[in-house]
Symmetry: C2
């Protein structure tokens, strides 16, 4: 059985949920596939209306949802109400995306008999993957990266049925969200939910599964990748794993803003963000270090999402203990509460301890690395592994050219004078990055283009107009963007 736990007390909370056995996983996946045939064939407009109905249903139930989630995550009312709103917003964004129609990338090349060899009429657009999308929910966003998170929203928008492997950190929240979404779907089977590690393994090995999305640890992602590698038929694996999100403070940056912003970003949500700033590079400057130490000392910890996550954090902090402590926050309250911890070292000592010292420590811990000059800074940045984000603080853009170039090979999102926590859900967002940040740096799990993971093109050659999808017809009845004979018409 799977139990929810209250991070404030360490006690079980809510109902006990059975692990899904192999026969049930098979039934759920096949039911999703069967429901998917009709869903695949719906028009974008029909799907958009369903996505909006899901958004409405989640919003209507926010008073219940946040309380169930708070009992299992201790993330608090304000954050959780905001997260439900964000989750509903993700469904609304994908409704916009599929109504716009640009996501199918319609291309039409009319026949050209004057070419050698003569060219037939060729038309191409993206369509939903045949089969079921498997989604592994994350612990740290019980709504926005979980059962009804961005992976599910984008896959349903694409036209694919989804089976989610629930995160054990919030099983009751998962069940309530699934129930809410299923009621808003034309067939409840379009969203399946399974519980338990074995069920997750059964899911990604299932022949009907066409792709998998995952948000979690490097170890978890590697384990799922190993299962997928053994499949008879390979499928794409979109895993968002670990990230240390380096922040580089250049000499021209405003020191007061850096110290305060860093401490706030580090401790937001008890540091439980994929985009938490785990590395801060600063000029060797006693005043700035003092300001950072003061700001961190003013923070307070809190209970982490689960006992294993708490233990992982304590292990990470112990590993970082070989460095000098710069400052600690105040201990938080609750059974699984932890204390923010910031360590400090210089660029040479840090470089010697790479890559081990720069492994992600999930939670409110960070390493401040001091540098004396830009060449020394660049040398160590070049040796970092991939991250979701990299940030520069500076007031003179020209000062940042070289650093920006190096960081541009280390991350999927570059930020200027900001903090990486908080990922805007918009058309341009890219939430991905070089390994180990992602298994697929060309794809994002947040933003409009997240839908691209669940699509594959089809080309139609000399195909009769009456059998063509409307997106590829000459009259363009849906008014989607089309590239016709090489020219893009929006």
């Amino acid at each position: 059985m799977i139990y929810g736990y209250d991070p404030r007390t360490g006690e079980t909370v809510g109902a006990a949920l059975p692990e899904t056995d192999p026969a049930e996983v098979d039934t759920i996946v096949h039911a999703a596939e069967a429901a998917g045939a009709a869903w695949h064939a719906t028009s974008a407009e029909e799907r958009a209306r369903v996505l909006e109905a899901i958004a409405d249903a989640l919003t209507a139930r926010v008073d219940e949802l946040w309380q169930v989630a708070d009992a299992e995550t201790a993330l608090g009312e304000v954050r959780l109400r905001g997260e439900v709103a964000r989750t509903a917003g993700q469904f609304r964004l994908f409704a916009q995306v599929i109504r716009d129609g640009g996501y199918v990338e319609a291309i039409i090349d009319h026949a050209d008999p004057s070419l050698t060899p003569p060219r037939p009429d060729v038309r191409r657009m993206k369509r939903p993957l045949p089969g079921v999308v498997a989604v592994f929910a994350a612990s740290n966003f019980p709504f926005a990266f979980s059962v009804a998170g961005g992976d599910t929203a984008s896959a349903l928008a694409a036209g694919c049925p989804v089976v989610v492997k629930a995160h054990p950190g919030h099983p009751n929240t998962s069940a309530m969200v699934a129930e809410t979404v299923r009621a808003a779907l034309p067939s409840p089977d379009l969203l399946g939910l399974v519980h338990g590690m074995q069920a997750g393994a059964d899911l990604v090995r299932h022949p009907v599964v066409a792709a998998a999305g995952f948000t979690g640890s490097v170890a978890g992602g590697k384990a799922i990748k190993a299962l997928i590698d053994q499949r008879e038929v390979p499928i794409p694996f979109y895993g968002e794993l670990g990230s240390v999100n380096p922040v580089v403070v250049l000499p021209s940056a405003r020191a007061d803003e850096v110290a305060k912003g860093f401490a706030a970003s580090l401790t937001l949500g008890v540091g439980q963000f994929c985009t938490n700033p785990g590395l801060l590079f600063v000029p060797s400057d006693t005043e700035l270090l003092d300001a950072i130490a003061d700001a961190v000392a003013g923070t307070t910890g809190g209970p982490m999402l689960g006992e294993r996550i708490r233990d992982g954090y304590l292990g990470g902090v112990e590993r970082l203990g070989e460095l000098r402590s710069l400052a600690s926050g105040k201990p938080g309250e609750g059974a699984w509460a932890v204390t923010p911890q910031v360590f400090v070292t210089d660029v040479d000592a840090f470089a010697e301890k790479l890559p081990r010292i720069a492994e992600e420590c999930f939670g409110p811990a960070s390493v401040v690395v001091t540098y004396r000059d830009i060449p020394g800074l660049l040398a160590v940045l070049r040796n970092l592994e991939g991250s979701l984000t990299a940030t520069i603080h500076a007031n003179v853009p020209a000062e940042a050219t070289q650093v920006a170039e190096v960081l541009g090979r280390k991350a999927g999102r570059l930020l200027w004078n900001g903090w990486p926590t908080g990922v805007a859900v918009c058309w341009a967002m890219h939430h991905s990055g070089p390994w180990p940040a992602s298994t697929a740096p060309a794809h994002t799990s947040v933003g409009a283009t997240a839908i691209d993971r669940w699509l594959a093109p089809m080309a139609y050659q000399d195909w009769p107009s009456e059998l063509l999808p409307p997106e590829l017809q000459d009259g363009n009845p849906l008014g989607v963007p089309q590239r016709v004979d090489g020219r893009l018409n929006p």
Copy 2:
């Protein structure tokens, strides 16, 4: 040493080329990476001019190129001159693609402080993958899918350096093409060439390699995938493997055109096309079978590209020998010549022997499967594995609705009243399909969108205008398509 062989005589031809040893592979990959830094930073216009210079250089050398290739492949002057033209055309298409700029998918979301939470300025575009692209050349297109084929052209267009593992079937052609392209590049190191199976394995395991493209057999593709799966850092593997390309003749089709067209497509280039029609479904109709048998009997075989390929074909024909022979062509001339062979069975006997009986037999062999009714046809089509193409012959589109729906899940390109051999190089082409046709059905190895395999997006948040790539600047100095605040502007 690696030797070229003349398929007409079985004798060695041209110079003996050494296998590339591990240290040389490492040197070549690092040289490519080093040259790649400057290439990555070039403007699209600069790269487009280089691509056109490569096209010119290949065209200028066609008199030499076709002869070297003919000695190693026996494909003949007309085909090989045409293939050099096609290969040059591929470089010209990618010059157009990168000048157009739509391939970077520029998206700009301006800051919106009115939102909750306020949205920062986020801009996103695709950039070349950091690192080197590994390309495994195919045997059957010594120009268009080899050293300077579509994989290389699209990767150079994207801004990536390339190292090609030469196909042993045409080593001297490979060397001459590499020399020609290298002379037209700003740095010759942007195109590396390695010889030998071990060198190929060293190449895909090299840490600096960021992606791999492959065209070849299912066994070869599986072997490379297994090597890639073992990598510390995963990379995308774009493999185009095996395909039987089912052709379905519906009752309303014109029988005379079917028989002639089938025999011609089956035997084109001694059947050595990935899109060769290996399965032909026809109504139970003695007249049509007789016409097919007559047409096939009128064909002539020829020498295959290599001894191993010839042996593979003979093995495949032996395997198909459990079926009744419908017709054979005339034997071709030359050491490695083979005879076209067509077998026949009915839909029930065929279904019993699946999937084995529908494995690709590379060369001019095909199975004609007769069906009595559409439900029986649909049942067997549903059990086929993936292919690059699927074709319907019919004169009444409405008759094809159900068959089209089933075939749409089995292939990456659907053709109407045509033949799958011959892949137009254009914006809309999609040359891919479900496993085992491709390891990555969402990506194509032919056509404008082939460039997408070598790109990954980057998001810039609140990034200073002077550090943004021109494609993402508000003034849009390059005039590329941009999606701004959700609206696409071409």
